[in-house]
């Protein structure tokens, strides 16, 4: 047990801090469409050129081959740099944190060579095609079907909750290739070109006024069999292997940012007049106690993340304990924005954007997603109960 940074880690931190001070964009991120895509890819390219893309990706695939601790240090320095946008709110997220890592683990040499550099260099946008209207929490019951026809798969069906499908080049797509096998055994993980004929994309508006989510419809879409990642019908295992990484480090940036959010909220509560109209909001002990508890909780989140990294460093693979962090983070994120609604008084009724400085109501609406997306908290609690604690399945 120690908190020491190695000389290398310390140098990394200094280097990151210096680079960010010089290279962080000052303009806000365009909220939608082609400008958004261009902004996100340009930032990815800037990161790549600066040596900050794929920090914990293997060197052979263009990454820097550094540790998860260094990855975390990067996120911490990014948050400290007071950025005008949040790190994970980018159309490069799936490529960097999900599609890319999956190819590294399970892709063929050709797949790796073709796709990984383009992800890091900011040339392609990936999206995820997992959820379906009839298969939400019960992901494995997905029904989008893929029939082998020669050296192609012919895909028909529908996906939903596909972030950034409307600006994506490629998709990690789960399809049912064997309708007769048990539900976990007949699924394949394929790379789908989003410009293929037969694909129709429809944007879904969310309660937080975000339109990054899409429904994707597939009408006999032809995908080469060479785009299957891993074995055919083994897609569930392919997907699960990367989901553990998702639980491991993908959301670390969110967690680090949440700590900064709590500090901003404390400042807000000091500066703003409270509900009684006479004293600062923070003078109300109820508000003060909740802010204090929020501080303790985001700090605990950091401790859990470091413990998770320590564990992964020993075992090589993130364990199911990552679900505990997901669960804790999702509910904490919501609690913090609900507290913000109580602190800002009648400002709570004025709508703000989802992202940006000193905005609270947009992020409050967005916070509802944190206990739903990527597996509801019910599912996370099942995973913790069964896989971490060993309680019997239902």
């Amino acid at each position: 047990m120690n908190l020491d940074l190695t000389a290398e880690e310390q140098a990394f931190r200094d280097e990151a801090s210096t680079w960010l001070a010089e290279n962080l964009p000052t303009e806000e991120r365009p909220p939608e469409g082609a400008e958004m895509r261009a902004f996100d890819l340009a930032w990815q390219r800037t990161l790549f050129d600066g040596g900050w893309a794929g920090i914990n990706w293997p060197v052979e695939y263009g990454g820097r081959g550094l540790s998860d601790i260094q990855q975390m240090i990067w996120y911490e320095e990014f948050a400290k740099a007071d950025p005008p946008f949040t790190l994970n709110n980018s159309c490069t997220f799936v490529g960097n944190n999900h599609g890319g890592p999956t190819l590294i683990l399970k892709g063929s040499d050709e797949q790796k060579t073709e796709h990984l550099p383009k992800i890091l260099e900011g040339e392609t946008v990936w999206c995820q095609g997992f959820s379906e209207p009839g298969a939400g929490s019960d992901l494995a019951s997905l029904s989008t079907k893929a029939v082998v026809d020669g050296d192609e798969l012919v895909v028909t069906g529908q996906k939903t909750w596909t972030s950034y499908a409307h600006v994506a080049d490629l998709q990690e797509l789960l399809v049912r290739t064997d309708p007769d096998a048990p539900k976990h055994k007949g699924i394949s993980w394929v790379i789908c070109d989003m410009r293929s004929p037969g694909i129709e994309i429809r944007e879904i508006e969310t309660m937080s006024h975000v339109t990054d989510f899409c429904e994707v419809f597939y009408d006999e879409v032809r995908i080469p069999l060479t785009n299957v990642v891993g074995e055919i019908n083994d897609g569930w295992r392919v997907a699960m292997s990367t989901l553990s990484f998702e639980r491991g480090t993908a959301f670390m940036a969110d967690q680090v940012e949440l700590a900064a959010t709590v500090e901003r909220l404390i400042s807000e509560a000091r500066e703003r007049t409270g509900a009684d109209g006479r004293r600062p909001a923070i003078a109300d002990e109820d508000i003060a106690k909740r802010l204090s508890m929020a501080r303790a909780e985001v700090t605990a989140l950091r401790a859990m993340t470091i413990a998770g990294i320590s564990r992964t460093a020993r075992t090589g693979v993130p364990g199911p304990e990552g679900s505990m962090i997901r669960l804790f983070h999702g509910e904490l994120h919501q609690r913090i924005y609900r507290l913000a609604m109580d602190i800002v008084g009648t400002e709570a009724l004025r709508l703000t954007p989802v992202d940006g400085e000193g905005v609270w109501t947009g992020p409050y609406l967005q916070s509802f997603a944190y206990t739903i997306g990527g597996g509801t908290t019910d599912i996370q609690r099942n995973i913790v109960g069964e896989r971490v604690l060993g309680l019997p399945r239902q």
Binding site: S137, S141, W161, T206, A275, R350, D378
Partner: protein
């Protein structure tokens, strides 16, 4: 002593429900999201004709002659259907006009000819105003004082609203009011009616989650068969039942002029606020991804509950008032 609606009251509820479901469907109203005037004149007129603004006004004043109890039943349904519109300010203003003996003004309000927006004092003469689309009057309540202002020569600065069906703005009310009263019964009435609307939100969201639990299947069975959702639905039902019955008790207590009327009204307001916010929030969660979409009505209850929690006083005010009220 009886807390269940009478046959006559059940009939009122039934009529209100039918009307709200046919003419005020959220799917139709969604087209007016963000617009200044959400309820058009025809629709408002129809409410007036149904006597909704006149329920609790005495027959001699041109009203229907029921009481706050029936008004509360109306507002419970307004909440349950997340119906937008200046119902609260209009109903309260009718009582203010009646109190002042302003029969012409009262007539115009009851007939739907003049609509009343709600103005909440923010700082001096500066008010937060809601539901001002199509309104030519504004009701401002501050403590036991309630006043009706003419909006004719007043400029409203519009603002982006958390709830796209509740137009929001700020306004300075500097002119003399058309009429004003100093009467604590107005704010008591406001507490009960807002509580009723919030209780309606709590009830409707509990029902929406329960229905979803019966219909939606995952892992080969209805999601409501899983304890996690089943128990949340049970908790939501309890919250709704508590808020609803307490609000009805409060309305009865106010009407009967009991000593505990203030206590009961504030208790109802406090409890219904929490029930509505909690249930509306859980309702989104219970629906998973679909509950997070704009298309689904779940978010309507969330933002409406946030508005109503801050309508006619803040949660902080009401918690303090309840603790300060004599118990009996």
């Amino acid at each position: 002593m009886d807390l269940l609606p009478t046959e006559e009251q059940l009939e009122i509820i039934g009529t209100v429900k039918a009307q709200l479901e046919s003419d005020f469907s959220l799917n139709d109203l969604a087209e007016r999201d963000g617009q200044d005037q959400v309820i058009d004149d025809t629709l408002w007129q129809r409410c007036a004709e149904l006597g909704w603004f006149a329920l609790g006004i005495s027959e001699e004043d041109g009203g229907v002659g029921y009481s706050l109890v029936e008004e509360a039943l109306l507002f419970e349904e307004v909440g349950a259907h997340a119906t937008p519109g200046p119902f609260l300010a209009t109903v309260l203003a009718a009582h203010v006009a009646a109190d002042c003996g302003e029969s012409e003004l009262l007539g115009q309000i009851l007939s739907g000819e003049r609509r009343v927006a709600l103005a909440e004092p923010e700082d001096g003469s500066r008010h937060r105003i809601t539901d001002h689309g199509g309104a030519d009057l504004a009701l401002a309540i501050s403590g036991s004082r309630a006043a009706i202002f003419d909006l004719a020569r007043t400029e409203i600065t519009p603002e982006l609203s958390l709830d796209p069906l509740v137009p929001l703005g700020t306004v300075s009310l500097d002119s003399d009011p058309l009429c004003a009263v100093d009467d604590p019964s107005i704010s008591l009435r406001a507490s009960v009616l807002v509580a009723a609307e919030l209780a309606g939100i709590a009830r409707a969201t509990a029902e929406q989650s329960t229905e979803y639990g019966k219909d939606r299947e995952q892992f080969g069975r209805p999601v409501g068969s899983f304890q996690a959702l089943k128990h949340r639905c049970a908790d939501m039902a309890v919250r709704a039942d508590a808020a609803m019955n307490l609000t009805r008790l409060a309305a009865l207590s106010v009407v009967a002029g009991h000593n505990d009327a203030e206590f009961q009204s504030e208790a109802a307001r406090v409890l219904a606020t929490q029930a509505a916010l909690e249930n509306a929030t859980w309702n989104v969660q219970n629906h998973g991804g679909i509950g997070f979409t704009w298309e689904h009505t779940a978010h309507r209850y969330v933002t409406r509950a946030q508005f109503r929690a801050r309508t006619a006083g803040t949660p902080h005010d009401h918690l303090a008032a309840l603790l300060g009220a004599p118990a009996t």
